[in-house]
Symmetry: C2
Subunit: 141 residues, 2 copies
DNA sequence: TTGAATGCAAAAAATTTGCATATTG
DNA sequence: CAATATGCAAATTTTTTGCATTCAA
């Protein structure tokens, strides 16, 4: 991340202390929503950041490719470092548990979509919803 | 739809004119968001319905199994008749086009998740995001 | 008749935007 | 010094909730 400043500057952006702190928080939490990040940044010793700064910076950092986000449900974007191991999320509609699975599990599906529609799918942008083993067993009774 | 009234009554619910009009609107539009439905219902000749009635009824009708919803993006639930042909949605992150694809395309993927995690995936609950043929071709240059 | 449903207005929750001020490069 | 970023408050957008009134069964 030493060239982060350069990546930013190359796009006319600046490396501000706020940006560094936000990146640190994303790294520390693994993945988190904007307001969780705001809370985390507020506890790193420095002054709290306004929520709008959080939002604007997550967007900026995503453009530069430092972070990216996925949606575990229809309303929470969760951010993580872009170089974080890639995996897709399975969210149980019943108990809410989140399971991580290697993206490879979707390869045949992704291949189908490409062959059939020329569509390049990013299966990890949105979580896959359904029912976990425990909940589907419960429902089967 | 003649037994809709019974299905509702069996659960202590009632068949109101508002409910019928909402179902008609869902059928007419194919699939639409709550506010689009509100607009559509408002043009069927009768009086407009309050948005809260729309929301409460979509929820009620979904419980009874008459309608169901999917999320094309992280903020718009789109409702359709439950007996409407099942398909999954591919949404282009670049141009926004929505492509429908038979759920069968996801069978191997769904099978993998079941085998690997015991997870019963409902791939059509959330749209699959990615890039359509045109946009990915453009990006390749 | 009576409990469920409606309408309206106010409350929430989650982002986004305007703008004056502070800062980076 | 000039242009980008920040902070704060206000505006949006979308959905939910309280409550008095209406209506289906």
């Amino acid at each position: 991340m030493s060239d982060l400043g350069e990546s930013l500057r190359a796009r006319g952006m600046r490396l501000t202390p706020q940006r560094s702190r936000i990146i640190d928080a994303v790294r520390a939490l693994g993945h988190a929503t904007p307001d969780l990040l705001a809370a985390a940044v507020g506890q790193d010793g420095g002054p709290a950041l306004s929520l709008s700064t959080i939002y604007r910076n997550l967007e900026a950092l995503e453009e530069v490719g430092v972070v990216s986000h996925t949606h575990l449900d229809h309303r929470s974007p969760t951010y993580h470092l872009a170089d974080h191991a890639e995996h897709l999320h399975l969210v149980c509609l019943s108990c809410g548990v989140v399971i991580e699975s290697p993206v490879g599990a979707a390869d045949p599906f992704v291949g189908n979509l490409l062959a059939r529609h020329g569509f390049v799918a990013d299966v990890k942008h949105m979580a896959i919803h359904g029912w976990c083993r425990a909940c589907s067993a419960k429902a089967a009774q």
